[in-house]
């Protein structure tokens, strides 16, 4: 967003009590344009993100009541939806809601795995794209982008064709005699990981590419000249420099993987539920919006806390993520 704020240089207007950054913002853009931009940004963040989330938060603390009783005496704030995730149904056979909790932690762990796998896969690609010059880079970028023109569900089914029991891979390997029986990629979740990884490749590559592209080639040559082998050049020069891009990419991939629905629905094995599927079931099948909202809020907050903890661990600033 930064660049189009700067581009327009409208006549100066003065606001007497505005904070400095707002004043400068209006000086650059003029009152009319400035107000329009600010209005749109505020509408976007408050109207489309914060308010709906707040209403979800509100839902999550209410009991699931039939419509006539909403606003009635039974409609009071309660923690029961959250308790349900931890303790399960009252009078249930287990003292903990083992099924849902297991799905929850498995989802987080799987999202971490997808993120790490994507990082390992995408870093060399981003490095290559960022540091080489020429038209083939543009062709590469287009080849990366075009698959995203196809809708998510189609892409997921296409992967089913590749990984299915009678799919391309199994036909190939069994036909070549490498395997005796078809390997069940779906049940072993390999199709799911591949699908999630594939879905977010761009979100991992582009932030890293952006940063690495601006790395001065001389830095790499200087390190090499001083005797560094290639892995140390990456470890000490390229990766520290690319850290904002890496963290930005990892954050996005982690958040989106943890929150993905279509890929787990289509590519996941029958026994492996994704936590988002549980949320979906609560909203849709059980028609229990408060319970679904509570699950969604728990997922969101946990993901945010996890990302913040990782950022602290790897000493990344919030500002870096925006790069």
């Amino acid at each position: 967003m930064r660049f189009w704020f700067r581009r327009v240089n409208w006549p100066r207007n003065k606001g007497p009590t505005m904070p400095g950054f707002l004043k400068e913002f209006f000086n650059r853009n003029g009152i009319g344009m400035g107000a329009a931009i600010l209005g749109l940004v505020l509408f976007w963040t408050i109207g489309l993100i914060i308010l709906p989330q707040l209403s979800m938060l509100d839902f999550s603390f209410r009991p699931n009541l039939p419509p006539p009783e909403i606003g009635g005496p039974k409609d009071v704030y309660t923690l029961e939806n959250y308790k349900y995730l931890i303790y399960g149904p009252e009078g249930g056979s287990q003292s903990y809601n083992a099924v849902d909790l297991r799905v929850f932690f498995r989802t987080l762990l799987a999202a971490v795995c997808v993120t790490v796998f994507n990082l390992i896969l995408c870093y060399p690609i981003a490095y290559y794209l960022g540091q080489s010059k020429g038209n083939h880079i543009r062709i590469f970028a287009i080849m990366l982008i075009i698959p995203y023109w196809i809708n998510e569900i189609l892409r997921a089914f296409a992967l089913r064709i590749i990984f299915g029991e009678t799919g391309v891979l199994n036909t190939l390997f069994v036909g070549l005699g490498i395997w005796d029986t078809p390997f069940d990629f779906i049940r072993n979740d390999i199709a799911l990981y591949a699908g999630l990884g594939y879905a977010y490749i761009l979100l991992m590559i582009f932030p890293m590419y952006n940063v690495i592209e601006s790395l001065d080639k001389n830095q790499i040559e200087a390190a090499r000249d001083l005797g560094a082998p290639w892995w140390r050049i990456h470890w000490r020069v390229v990766i520290p420099y690319a850290k904002p891009g890496i963290s930005s990419g990892c954050t996005m991939v982690f958040m989106l993987s943890a929150g993905a629905l279509a890929a787990p629905q289509i590519l996941g094995g029958p026994s492996s539920l994704w936590f988002t599927q549980l949320i979906y079931q609560q909203f849709n099948d059980n028609n229990d919006w408060p319970q679904g909202a509570a699950y969604a809020i728990v997922l969101l907050v946990t993901c945010i806390l996890f990302v913040l903890a990782m950022m602290r661990l790897f000493k990344v600033n919030m500002g870096d993520i925006g790069k």
Binding site: D216, N218, Q219, E221, A222, A223, R224, D225, L226, G227, A228, P229, R232, R236, V237, P240, Y241
Partner: protein, 370 residues
Amino acid sequence: MSAGVGVDLENLWIRFGDFVAVRDANVNINGGDFFSFLGPSGCGKTTILRAVSGFLEPSEGKVLIGGKDMRGIGPNKRPTALIFQNLALFPLMKVWENITFSLEISGASAKERRKRADELLDMIALPDQGDKLPSELSGGQRQRVAIARALCAEPDVLLLDEPLSALDLKLRQHMRTELREIQKRVGITFIYITHDQGEALTMSDNIAVMRAGVIDQIADGKTIYNDPNTAFAASFVGENNVFRGKIKQIMGNEALISTNRSGELVARISTANQGKLAVGDDAMMFIRPEAFAIASDGASGDHFVTARVNHEEFEGNVFNIFTEGDGGKEIKVSLPNLGQSFDDHTGQNITLEYETRNAVLVPAGELAAE
């Protein structure tokens, strides 16, 4: 000083596709020398440096360091250290980590590295600055950190790619002296790339003058300035006035040329061209602005030039007179300011006088672009 490790280029050719960046370069650089490649941008001097440092393999010919052929040896294995034009300090490492990066690679402990960094920081007169980031230093300080980082690797040959070009004039002049002192102290071979003849002349033991991939002359600064081999070397190094003409007569090491506009003039044939010029050849005579004196009116002969004065200027240490010259170029005359009075000659004809030893004759050739 012959303790250092020498560098030799033997029949070195470097091509990029059809473009020849370096054409048959033959250079012997003595160990412990401060050697400069001097030439305009795009002449191939940086290409030579990259071939010596190992970032580029020559298309033909050899790079020898200490007599050893370097073919196939990567930049991280050569006994060279390169100082980049933009320095290329690592922005996210502290100054001391930058300086001791080469030790980190060889596995030295943090304590050892810190100690070495402090020694080097003392040497470059930046004590106690080790914990800063490069961005917190001034341009000159960063310059010195880059030198320390390169020296920390204890190279046999230090390669410098126009490292002073980003500095302002005062600092640049100061750093010249400093670089020369550092080189004398550490005693290793310095190979310095520059387009600035002042830098090359003040610092170097020997200079190679380059033009479009070809080395025109290799000699010490005094020789290059006073006794250039080619028209390019004469016109690129320092200011020079050119007189074009044909050789009319050769008398030993001197020659009489009939110039296009200043009549017949006598000149000394430059050492490298003695015995190679013949009567009737196109030639160029070069006289430095400071080699002229104003003669009394009416004087004439084969070492007098008469021309109309276009304009004059006072530069402080010298008084400059610009007269009409050959081929649309003005003749510049610089008279030292010794407290005498300077008459205004603008619009008048003046007669200039020179001594034969100060007029150098070379074969006609390409001049350096202004």
